[in-house]
Symmetry: C3
Subunit: 348 residues, 3 copies
């Protein structure tokens, strides 16, 4: 029984990880992959396992756009076809490794782990703030010892901000305010408005607010690929809140992409973009570290939660009203997995 | 198939571990627990798993006698009832965590892991030497990578003293002398007398004996909770041995309590009390370290034994005559487990 | 389902590991063993598990040719019979540990893990270069995190030399040249001749060749015990190659013995003997380190291969023509295991 949607674009890494001639080894949905950038810029993604004797191709050698296994010397093209077997003239058609569709877009590398025929690059979420010259961000990554769904839960819940993040990005009112949820085809649109509240520490820090603020978090949660794209910010009370004109607002654009590594580990990619003080790299670093540190607070809690669940996976969990968004997304994930598995069964 | 008696008081820790506002996280019989001391001194013991999303409550925050989960903010009373759900008015009755009866007595904290209705504090072993002003001890703890029953075996056998402890607390005669065993309701009364033998190193050290001594180890082994309470000592030959008047004797009162953590790990609590040189903390430390070091000798052997057993759990063990006490207690443990399991089955 | 031939002599260690009174603890075919040398030079090999309570005998004490368990003091003769039980007069016949036939020969210790009645020391491979005064070697050992069969594969394939060892003992031509294979009763005779090629780095280093060389690797692979005995070398072109007179040749005699420790770990013993500069210990060390470093290149690749296989043990492997030798030996191993298992079943 799988816990993963396969027909989805998952973030495989930052494009910068593929600079130069390097080979990047990364496991996604339990599948070890080797990634590299071809001379025309295309990203090649191959199974990180030679079809001959299972040696990892990430220990191999780039020869132009081809990749030679450095155990017995078999050479593979970027599409996975074997193009050379030392000491042998004929190459049987079965002699190939699986390749995976991949796309580089806006500093991100995306890979498609499902049926290649269904891979449509148009479905990849666009996030222009990563390349827009009026915004800045660093490239964030956290390795998680947890089932990706526990992190999905976390990102679909705002009440935890008041507790997990009480000393960083949270404040007390968030425990009780409800988010507005709207089901959209790709997932869930979440609107959480916190009017007229004292600014959280990072808003005080970056906005210099002395009085209360209107705070907003508006985001779309993408079921496929576990991507969150958020418009978040705060503005002094009485200036129109998120509806603008946001003249003295502190604004962020946030992207998180959760890519399952194994059933109990997850790649957590994120970027927190800001449009103020963009020529001050120190501010960019501070903005980044503020959320990175908050995510480490989540990580400590979620990994502890994972250990408790692993100890007794069948113990019941009691729902509360704040769980609405996470339940909805859990159902959408399950339905999608069901449909993929059923379709596969039907095709067999 | 369980290997643990549930209806028993197990030592959960030293009372000193619960000083102040602290939360103590400890796993007992495979169950993660969080312990804290309420304002009236009562010890609260709760399942260390929030009933909402399985976050550990030991990462929570004390609010008076109540404990708030710092993931989503649910708050629990010391009896496990949920008393607050952020953003929600009604609290369903199922919204609670399990609590466990606990008692603090004579510097020790005891917890009852079985049916709460059967928890009778009168059954907790009393050991006045821990608080009696004419005795002194330190608070001992060792974490063991072994099934608790292997440590029970060890404590119910004296022949190993001659081998495992040949250079510390043992001597050669102990290999062949038999202990006298008396079955008593709570377990086994063991009487081991070693008349007229050269003093073991620690008796020489603390008693200054120049000639032979009469040595004794008199103890009750409690099946429930794996508790050993011992009167041990040595006296110069011809002075009446353990029967007194013990005027120049070196005497100890020893307590060991073995609390299973998981099926293959154990909490080993112990105290070696002495009534000589009680105003000299250095002597108290030496007395403590003498036994602590001997226990580390046991630990090395028993953990090696555990690894051998884990490798081939079904390999037979050949009994010898020294095994009488350990077999008896193993049977008592099994019978008690059987009776608990049977009663549970009958009740269902 | 076993993956090991049992009726075979396996190299258990270097004789030097048993110098003095020491006890050597080593696991072979999943069986923990304790080895020691008796006063008459005979090697005793016993199960490293006391038959009483499973304590490891390797934590015991030598008493002449006997071994006392230092948990409860049982004493065993070199044949595994218990000869003393403290506090008990009668010794039941079941009170014994298994012993294993063992032979010391030419600096090596061999142990027989199968039916004792079939143990014939005449089947132990002889390798006089280890003791011949005109040859020198160091005693090599590598601990492998891999199924021994993956290392067998590696040693039966020369094509990998060009890739894994491109910077050490390999060179490019080896990728395409085929070895000559001859099936012999004990396994496989491999002849690999590389006439008229540039000398590999280590031949240049030790032979001072300036022009091309004829290179040879002639070896017998022993299915039982996974032993490789090789005559390898290089001679300047035009001097008769391996057929002699080898007057200016650089020659090695190489022994490798692979002894499975567990299903996924292996003891890798090896010796690279040389007959030049034998009075210069630094040369002996360089010769040794050249192959030892090459073996570490193999180890890195094979352990990575093992991890890939462990992740998905049923994934197919596509054969290439260089695999002939390894397939042949895999079949011989399987046939031998089959025959042992069948014989055992028939006997029951």
């Amino acid at each position: 029984m799988t816990i993963w949607i396969r027909n989805a674009w998952y973030m495989a890494g930052w494009a910068s990880e593929l600079d130069g001639d390097g080979l990047l080894s990364r496991t996604i949905l339990g599948q070890p992959l080797v990634l590299y950038r071809c001379e025309d810029g295309q990203i090649a993604v191959l199974e990180d396992r030679c079809c001959h004797r299972a040696a990892p191709l990430s220990r191999g050698r780039r020869e132009g756009d081809q990749l030679r296994c450095m155990y017995h010397g078999l050479k593979f093209a970027a599409d996975g076809a074997c193009v050379e077997i030392p000491g042998q003239q004929t190459i049987p058609p079965a002699m190939r490794v699986r390749s995976f569709p991949a796309v580089e877009q806006q500093t991100l590398v995306w890979v498609w782990m499902g049926q290649a025929a269904l891979a449509d690059p148009a479905q990849i979420p666009s996030w222009p703030y990563l390349t827009d010259p009026s915004w800045r961000n660093l490239e964030g990554y956290i390795h998680y010892q947890a089932d990706y769904r526990l992190i999905v839960d976390n990102l679909l819940d705002f009440s935890h901000l008041a507790y997990v993040h009480e000393n960083s990005i949270g404040n007390a009112s968030q425990a009780t305010e409800k988010a507005q949820l709207e089901r959209i085809p790709l997932g869930l649109r979440v609107t959480k408005l916190a009017p007229n509240e004292p600014p959280a520490p990072h808003f005080r820090k970056f906005g210099g607010f002395t009085g209360n603020v209107d705070r907003w978090n508006l985001y779309d949660w993408h079921v496929a690929g576990n991507v969150m794209l958020m418009d978040g910010g705060a503005e002094a009370v009485g200036k129109g809140g998120h509806q603008g004109p946001r003249e003295t607002a502190v604004q962020f654009r946030h992207m998180t992409a959760l890519t399952p590594e194994t059933e109990t580990t997850t790649h957590y990619f994120f970027a927190q973009s800001h449009n103020f003080a963009i020529d001050n790299p120190q501010v960019t670093r501070q903005v980044h570290e503020t959320v990175a540190n908050a995510f480490l607070e989540d990580k400590a809690m979620i990994e502890a939660q994972q250990r408790n669940i692993a100890r007794d996976p069948t113990a019941p969990m009691q729902a509360i009203s704040h769980d609405a968004a996470l339940f909805h997304i859990r159902q959408r994930i399950s339905a999608q997995i069901e449909s993929e598995t059923g379709a596969k069964r039907a095709a067999e």
